[in-house]
Amino acid sequence: MRTAVIIPAFDEADALPAVLAELAAHVPDHEVVVVDDGSTDGTHRVAAAAGATCLRLPFNLGIGGALRLGFRYAATQGFDRAYQFDADGQHDASQIPALLAGLDDADMVVGSRFSDDRGYRVGRSRGLAMALLRLLVRRVTGRRFTDTSSGFRAFRRPVLEFFATEYPMEYMESVEALVLAVRSGFTVREVPVVMHDRAAGTASNRNLRLAYHFVRLLIVLLAGGRATGHTPQVAR
């Protein structure tokens, strides 16, 4: 069973070494694939020096584009399963076995911060936004997910192949991707995980931008449409 760790990284040269070291300690047999999303701080050198496979995008595509490339790489390189992992240290490598165990009876597993109370705290407006997303995702998919925007997710090969061309591109793509996977007939389940609190200011928390993308997401979900970035077929 070959497993890939997909790490989208944009200007994460500082945070990356610790994350890669943690992965090497916990899951030495997983192939680490860092997708350098147009970084200008030498992220690719840090990744390569740490022994990770580093794919370099020529310019910043956003996390959706970086992930899609990672999925495509994993699918074409014959990996059986893969999981996303944050470059900024939000995810905890000790939780990986629990996440992957979920794949035994599902095509896709979402690591949830909230499925039982494990002490992950979010601010008030963010909590409200997340509650609204939960409600909408439940309405649209008929399934209950407690952490719709979690970026700690694992996938079996069929999902990797699907996401290699269909992964949504826009910011906050994780919610769309979840809905898309359920709608496309994949078995998706949640497992409870512990995550580190995000260090203040690291995420792109500019409120206006966030609000804009939140509204966009609501429209996409309510319209029942999907804003995927279907890949025009380039010769393989």
């Binding site: 030498g42 050198r45 390569a48 580093c54 794919l55 020529p58 584009g65 890949t231």
Partner: protein
């Protein structure tokens, strides 16, 4: 139509057609856009050379102030053009993204240049 409006339309027509023809001759417009803009030039030319046309049509549509018709048509047309451009941009963005991913895959994994005696420069190709 008043003399002034007619004058405005005439001047606009001359300028627009001149610019379009110039761009087409220099080959800086793609064929599909050429057709679009030449049509605009043609419509403008007709409107300018048959001054009663706008008035007649405006009267038929019950528009009191005739230049309104002209502005209405112009705004409607610009709206269509803007929509068309949004469509083209979306398509282009998808293709550019796909190419960027393809490039990253073709370029292959970044080699570890600290292994063979230390890196110089920023290593970007």
């Amino acid at each position: 139509m008043t003399t002034e409006t007619h004058l405005v339309v005439a001047v606009l027509t001359v300028v627009a057609v001149a610019v379009i023809v110039r761009m087409v001759r220099r080959g800086v417009l793609k064929a599909k856009y050429t057709v679009l803009w030449l049509t605009v030039g043609l419509v403008l030319a007709v409107a300018a050379s048959v001054p009663t046309l706008l008035d007649t049509v405006a009267d038929r549509l019950g528009i009191w102030y005739q230049p309104t018709l002209f502005l209405m048509l112009a705004i409607g047309f610009l709206l269509l053009v803007a929509m068309h451009f949004s469509y083209e941009l979306s398509r282009l963005e998808k293709r550019v993204r796909a190419l960027a991913e393809e490039l990253a895959l073709l370029r292959g994994p970044v080699p570890d240049d600290t292994a063979d005696g230390g890196a110089t420069g920023d290593g970007s190709g």
